[in-house]
């Protein structure tokens, strides 16, 4: 599917590059709205700040590690993500929301919902993958963490007290069993 990348993608790129001018621009455009919506819905300003930061970090990670591409304008996108995050949060805390649906978001386009859905799915996936990882044996977890951290294979092998050849073989096996575990969790659902 050919994607029509929105011009606001530049903010996402700015976020990935830790470009403070652009990130400040994101805050300028969106922070006020998120703050007033969350405080209107029984949250504090700190809650609003936490939700906002969390949303931006989610977006950042998806963009950096999984090449997220924005096909909708940034502002309603962030607003929608923050609203959903806050609605989840107040469900957890059993606070009653003032507006608990998205009907007040009439001005938000389909594409924005699709983008926000995508981010949410990615986050759900991330949890699922991590729980599969947690079920692996200690040795496998160790090997996978080390290699993901980008340490040199030789160093990892030495640290774990195994040979380089064994490590390479074991790593592939561990990753294969991880994927298998993910597949079986998916079919269970």
């Amino acid at each position: 599917m050919a994607k029509n990348i929105h011009t606001d993608q530049r903010y996402i790129v700015g976020l990935v590059n830790n470009d403070t001018t652009l990130i400040n621009e994101i805050y300028k455009r969106c922070a006020g709205k998120v703050k007033s919506w969350i405080t209107f819905n029984n949250g504090s300003e700190d809650d609003a700040g936490d939700i906002f930061q969390e949303a931006l970090m989610d977006i950042y990670r998806q963009a950096k590690y999984k090449s997220l591409e924005l096909t909708c304008p940034l502002e309603p996108y962030i607003l929608l993500i923050c609203k959903r995050k806050w609605l989840n949060e107040i469900k957890k805390r059993s606070i009653l929301p003032v507006t608990n649906n998205e009907e007040d978001l009439l001005h938000i386009g389909e594409d924005t919902f699709a983008n926000a859905d995508y981010l949410e799915n990615q986050e759900a996936q991330s949890k699922l993958f991590f729980s599969a990882f947690e079920k692996l044996g200690e040795r496998c977890k160790e090997i996978i963490s080390w290699s993901m951290k980008g340490e040199a294979q030789e160093k990892v092998a030495e640290a774990l007290g195994v040979t380089y050849g064994y490590l390479r073989k074991k790593k592939s096996e561990c990753m294969a069993s991880l994927i298998k575990m993910v597949q079986s969790t998916k079919t269970e659902e």
Partner: protein
């Protein structure tokens, strides 16, 4: 190949656990096997997703730090945010700042050594900011009242002028002597002031320890901490300036 076998092949391929020949063979195979293609994509997806959770890079933390600092600005509790744009970046990664931080550290250390604010200790610990004259004459203000007004308005030079005459007339009036001396310190005639204050200190007036305190302050003004400390030590417990004297002593030591 069974799924499990294929999975392991994909893992070995992506983890670099294949010799060149096997690798080339695999790459040809992928082109014609949609299942392998699917597995490759899934593997990469799981790998990247986990990587951001298990092995966040340093940059991730830097971005988070940027956000934290902007959060303070935009979600700052009671302070409503202004829509002012700051054109200078607020936070960037720490690394380029390390250099400046060390420069700042050096500056702070040299400030501590130089301690320009010790001159301000005089200002901070000054007492007798108000000169009050109990006897208020009727009609025209007498000289002492005028001096008090000038003194209280901070016009120490003018006050000193009047007080000097009063002091010459009544050298035993400790009130006059005391405020005359303080006015002199304020106008920079520290030596003259100290002579007067020492005289008060050696006497038994109510200004005895105020005088000692001001002698100490006059030495602080000249950055002679040793003398200042000696005079502060003369102020006994129970007198009104004792607490301040103790505080100052701690600061000077």
């Amino acid at each position: 190949m069974m799924n499990e076998e294929k999975l392991l092949t994909v893992a070995r391929y992506l983890e670099g656990d294949m010799e060149l020949q096997e690798k080339e063979k695999f790459e040809t195979l992928v082109g014609t096997d949609p299942e392998l293609q699917g597995l490759l994509a899934e593997y990469k997806n799981v790998h990247q997703t986990l990587k951001m959770k298990i092995a966040p890079s340093e940059v991730d933390q830097q971005v988070n730090a940027t956000l934290s600092s902007l959060n303070k600005q935009y979600f700052a509790g009671e302070n409503p945010i202004t829509t002012e744009v700051k054109h200078t970046p607020l936070v960037v990664s720490l690394k380029p700042y390390l250099k400046w931080m060390s420069v700042a550290a050096v500056l702070i250390i040299s400030l501590l050594v130089w301690a320009p604010w010790s001159a301000n200790l005089y200002e901070k610990y000054a007492i007798s900011k108000e000169m009050s004259v109990v006897e208020r004459g009727e009609g025209n203000k007498n000289n002492l009242e005028m001096a008090a007004d000038l003194y209280n308005a901070g016009k120490f030079a003018a006050a000193a002028g009047i007080l000097q005459k009063e002091y010459e007339l009544k050298p035993d009036n400790s009130l006059v002597a005391y405020y005359y001396a303080v006015s002199l310190i304020e106008t920079g005639s520290v030596e003259g002031a100290r002579t007067i204050l020492t005289k008060i200190y050696n006497g038994e007036s109510v200004f005895k320890y105020d005088a000692a305190y001001y002698i100490a302050l006059s030495y602080i003004k000249e950055k002679n901490n040793q003398e200042a400390l000696a005079w502060l030590a003369k102020i006994p417990q129970g007198t009104s300036n004792y607490d301040k004297a103790q505080e100052l002593t701690k600061k000077l030591q």
